[in-house]
């Protein structure tokens, strides 16, 4: 930071932190990559906005019918994402900022600014851009764009504000109970609504209908009214969020909010060194608040959403890929950060060096496969009818293939691009925001491709075809993993990795 003393306003502090993060990017390649990605996203949004005339009338009508659900989906993501990360992402890890007078508003604005560094957020943004194009075919595209942009901003701001409220409430036992009760109540209400066949009616009464009508409104008064409401809500949310952020960060926590001060149950020694390392790594994952919360959300949310939507068996084949990619982002893309500064001590112990990497691979594999299995089972609970053998084989094959791909990609990234990460609080991430965004693309693209290919294969009705496709994918992932483990075996590469995860 050039002049922390002079950076008093949140905007200047934010500029300072962004400048620092920019300078911390490793080499010109990363900067060019970031700028290229931003330009590519802008280009894709432009393509989506100009795609209105590309659809035939029946498809267009269906798309417009789905618009309120698409806007609602974006809203759900905008609320859930910051909730899982305890108020949103951080430009610079909080532990590195303790010596600086960074204002709560700066933290809040930083989280807002980083919200788009999320593949799902971007994909949904593209969907909303396309919807805007469809809704404004007969009216004004610029007006529709403004309303959609305000909706995106408004719902992102409100999601962040709600997340900070939850962070603040969870500092006390009473608050945690309240949050749990509210979450459980919402879940029960959702299940009851869907089970009683009222899901469609609930969707029909969603406030996003008003937004959709405003986007495509020919009547200027109606558009102005709805757009002004969104603007007002965004401003209100920003003010409330900023205040709530300060309140949450300044609120003293009780003993329960600092679990690391409580003793844990002593476990028996494991039979082998690998199992002992696995036990320590597994504990390192589940004792990290950010990973515990992220893992639970990841395992439960996609399955619940799929169950709520009663996704057909054939479409369920896509689900493992989505969940596996998300599970990899939990800690897999920087798996060695679990050891923290203990990596130095571990490296001085007389074990076969690759054992440490094998333990990480095992824990990552079981985490990804566990999340995929939970999501697939939960998601299929309300799938209509019984699955064919080909569909079951495809879901299993997609689950195994995507898990293998994600584990191989994650271990490769962990060895090639390690980062120091404390993972002490719910807001701590395993890697800087930009690195996570790149990693999400690297994981989502291959897993989505695998899912689509296997889904296409299952549509032929041949039960063996998805398995035949999955086997070489798993083998290729295995070979890649083997190369990574060999690379980790190189003392120079391992020393560099250990040094980075231990001290940054």
């Amino acid at each position: 930071m050039r002049s922390p003393a002079g950076a008093t306003s949140p905007a200047r502090q934010l500029a300072c932190l962004l400048g620092l993060r920019w300078r911390l990017l490793r080499g010109a390649g990363q900067r060019i990559g970031l700028l290229t990605t931003a330009a590519a996203v802008g280009w894709l949004v432009w393509l989506a906005l100009t795609s209105g005339s590309a659809l035939d009338p029946p498809t267009l009508a269906t798309a417009i019918e789905l618009a309120p659900a698409a806007y609602l989906g974006f809203g759900v993501l905008a609320v859930v994402a910051p909730l899982t990360s305890g108020g949103g992402s951080e430009i610079v890890p909080p532990d590195q900022l303790v010596a600086y007078p960074v204002r709560p508003t700066t933290h809040f604005l930083g989280g807002l600014l980083l919200a788009p560094l999320n593949l799902v957020w971007l994909v949904q943004l593209l969907a909303l851009a396309a919807m805007t194009a469809y809704l404004t075919l007969d009216t004004s595209l610029p007006r529709g764009m403004l309303t959609t942009t305000l909706y995106v901003g408004c719902i992102t701001v409100l999601g962040q504000a709600l997340a900070w409220l939850v962070v603040g409430l969870r500092q006390t036992r009473r608050g945690r109970r309240l949050v749990f009760a509210a979450g459980a109540g919402l879940l029960v209400a959702a299940v009851v609504t869907v089970q009683s066949g009222q899901g469609a009616a609930a969707l029909a009464s969603s406030p996003t209908h008003s937004v959709v009508q405003a986007v495509g409104a020919a009547d200027l008064t109606r558009w102005v009214r709805a757009t002004a409401v969104l603007l007002g809500l965004a401003a209100l949310g920003a003010a409330a969020g900023s205040w709530l952020c300060g309140w949450a960060l300044g609120r003293p926590g009780d003993a329960g909010s600092a679990r690391h001060l409580l003793p844990v149950r002593r476990r028996a020694s494991r039979r082998s060194t690998l199992r002992e390392l696995v036990a320590v790594d597994r504990a390192s994952v589940w004792r990290a608040p950010a990973l515990r919360r992220g893992g639970l959300v990841l395992a439960v949310m996609p399955g619940l959403i799929a169950a709520g939507a009663a996704v057909p068996w054939q479409s369920m084949v896509i689900l493992p890929g989505l969940v596996a990619a998300g599970a990899g982002l939990l800690f897999g893309v920087n798996a060695f950060c679990l050891d923290g500064s203990g990596a130095l001590w571990l490296a001085s112990l007389p074990s076969e060096p690759r054992l440490v990497a094998r333990a990480k691979t095992f824990v990552l594999g079981e985490t990804v496969l566990g999340a995929v299995t939970i999501a697939a089972v939960a998601g299929s609970l309300r799938s209509p009818g019984s699955p064919t053998v080909a569909e079951v084989a495809a879901i299993v094959a997609a689950g195994l293939a995507c898990t293998a791909v994600v584990v191989a990609q994650c271990m490769r990234a962990s060895v090639r691009r390690p980062h120091h990460a404390l993972l002490a609080g719910v807001r701590d991430a395993v890697a800087p925001p930009g690195a996570l965004a790149f990693a999400s693309v690297r994981l989502a693209v291959p897993t989505a491709c695998v899912g689509v290919v296997i889904a296409t294969a299952s549509a032929t009705g041949r039960w063996w075809l998805p398995i035949v496709i999955a086997v070489p994918i798993v083998l290729a992932a295995g070979l890649s993993l083997n190369r990574t483990l060999r690379r980790y075996g190189d003392p120079v590469i391992r020393a560099r990795l250990v040094s980075v995860v231990a001290s940054g």
Binding site: R265, L277, G340, L344, L423, A424, A495
Partner: protein, 234 residues
């Protein structure tokens, strides 16, 4: 008699930066040597090389007759290392660290030794708390416990006194004395000259990755010793 630690012409390069430049050292059984110098002198890098964590760019290290380049795992089996930065797995407890060390080192019946060390370093009460909640001093003390747990032939302590209270310092000095009494060699890196003198009989002064002086530790005490030391490091 063959020295426990023998380092010859160690060089460590990080790209264009030479962190350690021709480091030579020999430490015999039952001897203790302090590595002193300013921040950035290359002390921790040297310690990492001796611990087998960082391969040297050139040079050789032999510990208890084992060549580190030929049998790195064999060297690590006889070395106990307390790293400079934490050196603890953040979400594992002290007991889990000891459990893991015992398994990786193939130790049997280690529990009594573990309990005794945790007691001595006043960590028995927090043996089942994750180390992420530890103060800096507590972390340092646990790192020393882990380094000495298996009664190594070579004890490498990197900044073991940093932020440690007087009782913790006494416990560490006691461990150093015990290690020497059992024939182990002890190598302590620190920037706290007073404690280096208390812990060790000899001192090696490092500057810019090079050894610029070596003397009996006692000669670095008092105002004359302090002036001599300052002259070496500036």
């Amino acid at each position: 008699m063959e020295p426990v630690l023998l380092a010859r012409q160690l060089v460590v390069d990080f790209g264009d930066v030479r962190a350690v430049d021709g480091f030579d050292l020999s430490v015999g059984a039952g001897r203790s040597v302090a590595l002193v110098g300013r921040n950035g002198a290359g002390k921790s890098t040297t310690m990492r090389v001796l611990a087998g964590v960082l391969p040297p760019s050139s040079g050789s290290v032999t510990v208890a007759g084992i060549d580190a380049a030929k049998d790195p795992s064999g060297v690590r089996a006889v070395v106990g290392y307390c790293p400079d930065v934490g050196g603890l797995i953040p979400r594992a407890t002290p007991w889990e660290h000891l459990q893991l060390a015992a398994k990786l080192r193939g130790m049997k019946g280690w529990q009594d030794r573990a309990t005794e060390l945790l007691d001595r370093f006043d960590l028995a009460g927090v043996a089942d708390r994750v180390t992420a909640g530890f103060s800096h001093g507590m972390g340092r003390r646990l790192s020393v416990v882990l380094a000495t747990f298996h009664e190594p032939r070579l004890l490498l302590l990197d900044e073991p006194f940093d932020g440690v209270d007087p009782l913790g310092v006494d416990a560490t000095l006691e461990v150093v004395a015990e290690a020497r009494a059992t024939g182990a060699a002890v190598f302590v890196s620190t920037h706290l000259l007073g404690l280096a003198v208390r812990a060790c009989e000899e001192a090696v002064v490092l500057k810019g990755g090079r050894v610029v002086g070596a003397a009996p530790a006692a000669e670095l005490t008092g105002s004359e010793g302090d002036s001599r030391y300052r002259a070496l490091i500036t």
